[in-house]
């Protein structure tokens, strides 16, 4: 579903993403691992069409993001980093907006909202304004927005960031469940999530893929593998 070939992105002179390639098929949950600043978010922003790559290609469901951005974006549900949302809206208003932007209306819209609300446990805050919500609820509201059109591809940037252990557990279960019928990529720097939710993991460091495979193929214990493969931001350049 997702095909990425030799993606490159510069920020000024810095090569933030340096020739990343990988594929994600339907039925896979791919964990995208790497230290902070290794290019995870930048790669995800290129997959979702927010950044245009300086070189390389992204295609989603057979649609090239540079040539047919609208067709590709229709297939994607995206949870951005920090779970941005229009904070002056209510949860219901925000989800209705997301549904309408995805071309849903009438009964289809109502059903989409109801199903997203149920999946993300938002019923109790449905008519609350988003800026009054706790971080966990705000995060789940943004996740609900990503699921609203039942997309075939899910791109989730740190979906469990800032959640409490119970909420993390729920979100991982949700991701595993969704991964049965969709192609899911999610980024994280929490290694236990790889075991908990992924069918495959990709480790990147300084903009390059340094390892990929199932959690078992990568070796155990995972955190030692991770530390051996990646560069700490306190290391000398």
């Amino acid at each position: 579903m997702i095909r990425i070939e030799n993606l490159v992105k510069y920020f000024g002179a810095k090569r933030a993403v340096d020739g990343i390639s990988f594929n994600v098929e339907r039925g896979e949950v791919v964990g995208f691992l790497g230290p902070n600043g290794s290019g995870k978010s930048t790669t995800m922003r290129m997959i979702t069409g927010y950044y245009a790559p300086d070189a390389g290609r992204v295609s989603v469901g057979g649609h090239d993001l540079a040539e047919a951005p609208l067709e590709a974006k229709r297939l994607i549900g995206y949870l951005p980093e920090n779970a941005a949302a229009y904070t002056d809206m209510t949860v219901h208003g925000f989800l209705a907006f997301a549904a309408e932007m995805r071309g849903l209306s009438g009964d289809a819209k109502k059903r989409a909202i109801a199903s997203a609300v149920e999946r993300c446990f938002l019923a109790s805050v449905l008519h609350q304004s988003i800026d009054t919500l706790s971080k966990g609820y705000r995060h789940r509201t943004c996740l609900a927005q990503a699921l609203i059109h039942d997309p075939e591809v899910l791109v989730l940037d740190e979906p469990t960031d800032g959640l409490d252990p119970n909420q993390k557990h729920e979100v991982r279960n949700l991701i595993r469940e969704l991964g049965k019928s969709k192609a899911v990529v999610f980024s994280t720097h929490i290694l236990e999530e790889v075991d908990a939710a992924c069918t495959r993991a990709i480790i990147i460091d300084r903009g390059r893929v340094v390892a990929q495979g199932t959690p078992d193929e990568l070796g155990r214990p995972l955190d030692e593998v991770f530390r051996r493969l990646t560069t700490s931001d306190t290391a000398k350049p």
Binding site: R45, L70, K73, P80, A84, M101, C142
Partner: protein, 241 residues
């Protein structure tokens, strides 16, 4: 077009979700009242026209329109929702048009609420209501031009105050290019053709006709061109974010 309208609806609702809309409307109406009746000497003029009303609009909008439009893109950038918006299956144009439309409708609403001056002048005398209509049309276009400029400055920054100041300065240029004291000053050293050429870029020059009740196609095109150009600039700025 449907997507643009969904965005416009959301944007319009967000004006009214905060006190911004109400503060803006009250201040706008108070200031138009003050400028028309006190500073504009509406009664002392003894004319059944709204010259005292429309004449102040380029100056009044100079401060108020950037205030109404400064958050349009700056807030999206600051809160990160820009990322959400631009990963939806829409073209940047639909987003730009939707947001511009919402703020223009908001200003149109503020302008519509000035209807008591129309009633007043009709009660006191027999004004040319066609001219008043032209004045309102010109005023709306003028506000649209300022708003489009504000869209562009707002897309430049994540800071609303910076967007506001840049926009006021840009709009001030649009006024001063054709403002009499400035053109008089220029006429001392520049050729009349140059003075006219510079004045042709001014909203004052083009608003004049509407104020007098004349709808000239050239003036209409001028405002539409400023709006079109500024919104295109917004598109370029957002593409290079």
């Amino acid at each position: 077009m449907r997507h643009a309208w969904v965005i416009a609806k959301r944007e319009l609702a967000s004006y009214f979700a905060s006190p911004v809309a109400y503060v803006f409307l009250v201040i706008f109406l108070l200031l138009t009242g003050f400028f028309t009746f006190t500073a504009g000497q509406f009664f002392e003029r003894g004319e059944a026209s709204l010259g005292a009303f429309f004449g102040w609009h380029p100056w009044l909008y100079l401060v108020l329109v950037p205030a109404a439009g400064m958050r349009l893109w700056a807030e999206e950038r600051r809160s990160g929702t820009l990322e959400l918006l631009f990963t939806l299956p829409i073209t940047p144009w639909q987003a730009i048009a939707g947001k511009f439309l919402a703020s223009w409708i908001f200003i149109a609403l503020a302008l519509a609420l000035t209807f008591p001056v129309v009633v007043t002048v009709n009660v006191l005398g027999a004004p040319d209501n066609g001219a008043i209509f032209a004045g309102y049309l010109g005023s709306l276009l003028l506000a649209g031009a300022y708003l489009a400029v504000t869209c562009a400055t707002s897309a430049l920054t994540r800071n609303q105050v910076v967007a506001f100041i840049l926009s006021v300065v840009a709009c001030l240029f649009l006024i001063l290019a054709g403002f009499n004291p400035v053109t008089d000053l220029m006429a001392r050293w520049a050729s009349p053709a140059l003075v006219d050429a510079v004045a042709a870029f001014s909203v004052v020059t083009h608003f004049d006709g509407f104020e007098r009740g004349v709808i000239d196609a050239r003036d209409l095109y001028f405002f539409l061109a400023v709006i079109g150009f500024s919104l295109s600039a917004t598109g370029v700025i957002l593409r290079n974010r």
